[in-house]
């Protein structure tokens, strides 16, 4: 069993370690001074964080409804929520692009409101919300399900309304699940490439820049960008994971 576990760990760690140790310090230093690289990493991080924030705001009510209610078609709704995980990512890009095309009423409505989708941050964030939302909703739903319904019922009977009960009981008891959901949503968003390349080649997020450098200059020039993205992401996720760990209280 230990050997099998070790094999899995090596399988994950070896390619990453090879890539992380491939660039020389000189190349890495030059890459760190490259404004285009830093901009793309910043764009990747901020758009992913925005997507996670949007998932929290709009995904929480749906997660609550799914966790607390039984209704006809619930399985269908749950499958719909999971769908973005399963469909090929270029399909996501094509679908969103079709929806926002000026040739159809929805795209025209967006355009009339001054919302541009193709080649904009808005487009990138929309794609990232689409692909990351299932991870957040499922984690938040598990968190809400872990809280006994009776706590909420008692809170209501003590005079707290539905909103007050959510903010004073439900949220304090499951925020760690929600944070983990946001981390997963953000992680998924940072790694997105297939849909983004269709919707917004520019402005360039880090994976698109890596792809461009790889096709234009080769492996040697795409590796340092990847190393920087991995290091920044690891640092950020370690911080969030630490925050989400339960503390021992009296």
């Amino acid at each position: 069993m230990a050997l099998s576990a070790l094999l899995v760990l090596v399988f994950i760690a070896l390619p990453l370690a090879t890539m992380l140790t491939a660039p020389t310090w000189e190349v890495l230093r030059k890459t760190l001074a490259d404004k285009e690289v830093l901009d793309s990493v910043w764009l990747s991080m901020t758009t992913a964080a925005t997507a996670a924030g949007i998932a929290f705001l709009f995904g929480t009510p749906l997660a609550y409804i799914l966790a607390r209610n039984a209704f006809p078609g619930k399985k269908l709704v749950e499958s719909l929520v999971d769908l973005p995980i399963m469909i090929p990512h270029p399909v996501v890009g094509i679908a969103l692009l079709s929806l926002t095309s000026p040739r159809i009423w929805f795209g025209q409505a967006l355009q009339s409101m001054g919302i541009e989708f193709m080649g904009t941050r808005t487009g990138i964030v929309t794609v990232l919300v689409f692909v990351g939302m299932p991870f957040y909703i499922n984690a938040a739903k598990s968190g809400i399900e872990s809280i006994p319904t009776r706590l909420e019922k008692v809170s209501r009977s003590l005079g707290a309304g539905a909103g007050a009960t959510f903010f004073r009981i439900t949220l304090p008891l499951c925020w760690r699940y929600m944070l983990v959901g946001m981390i997963m949503c953000m992680a998924r968003a940072i790694s997105e490439f297939g849909a983004i390349i269709i919707v917004a080649y520019h402005p360039m997020i880090a994976p698109v820049l890596m792809y461009e450098r790889f096709t234009a200059y080769g492996l040697k020039f795409s590796q340092p960008v990847a190393v920087i993205l991995i290091l920044v992401s690891m640092l950020f996720f370690l911080l969030l994971r630490t925050l989400s760990l339960p503390k021992e209280k009296e």
């Binding site: 209501r156 003590l158 707290a160 007050a164």
Partner: protein, 350 residues
Amino acid sequence: MIRLTDLYMDLPGFTLDHVSLHVRPGEFFALMGATGSGKTLVLETVAGLTRLDGGRVDIGGRDVTGLPPEQRNVSLVYQDHALFPHLTVLQNVMYGQRYHGIPADEGKREALALLDLLGLGSQEKRRPARLSGGEKQRVALARALACRPDVILLDEPLSSLDPQFRGELRRTLKEAHANTGATFLMVTHDFVDALTLAERAAVIKGGVLQQEDSVTNIFRRPATPFVAAFTGMTNILPATYEGAGCAFAGCRFDGLPDLPHWARGYAAVRPEDVIVGAESDFPADWCVLRGRVERLEREGFTWTASVLCAGEPITATVDHHLVLGGRLAPGTEVTLGFARAHLHHMPETA
């Protein structure tokens, strides 16, 4: 205070079937029933936590059927305490006060006084996870009382407690009821809890109300064989009625008081009212039966004898000296007697 009229709810696999109930102001009322009988559903309906398919709920003369839980001025105490784990004991107790217009400083004073009253004076800064079962239940009770509700709803408040804490909490509940003057509605599957605490009670089975009456009447005059068995009146014997007499367990008894007019039914008597002794021990107007001890069973500190009388088993609570002294053993021929007033009759159709 609480009037439930024709409550109807159709759920998958269960129907609450037109339940009507009246709990008087300031009374301690017990709703009894086995697991799955619908008693907690009735309680949650009073609290406004379930959606009715029909019927009406009045609290304090006000129709609250369509009102959300927070507008009913009732507080709920569940058997598993349902304390908020992220809050301290004091924060738990003070939780609902702000919604009842109780100022924070006054609320804190009251909450601390309540904790003192319930023997939790030094526990206010602790988290629920560090409390014993009995302490948790008292915190839950303090939390419910701290809102100054009109009605306290108790869902099996004693069932999750160890036996040594039960008596203590029964006394606490009794004192809390006497001190607050609030109306208490308790659901329980344990008829001893109802007998100890409540003035009036009702029994529910499979979503259908079987009987609503004073606790004494429910225990002495159960309406149906189910209520009789549920409240410990385990001797339920098929009986025939003719003229001024009644026949069961192979004997006919004449001149019984309050004989019903039906031809067939059930005669019932509580095991603790059945005495094992010699025929000469019993007063002349008692019902006397003869039989053979089938088995003896120990229930805690008491013993019961199952005696077969003309093919009908009759259970009697017996003095442990009789058993331990060897005067009563399986196979012993015995005489059973009970006062005629303790005999209860129920119709066959009930």
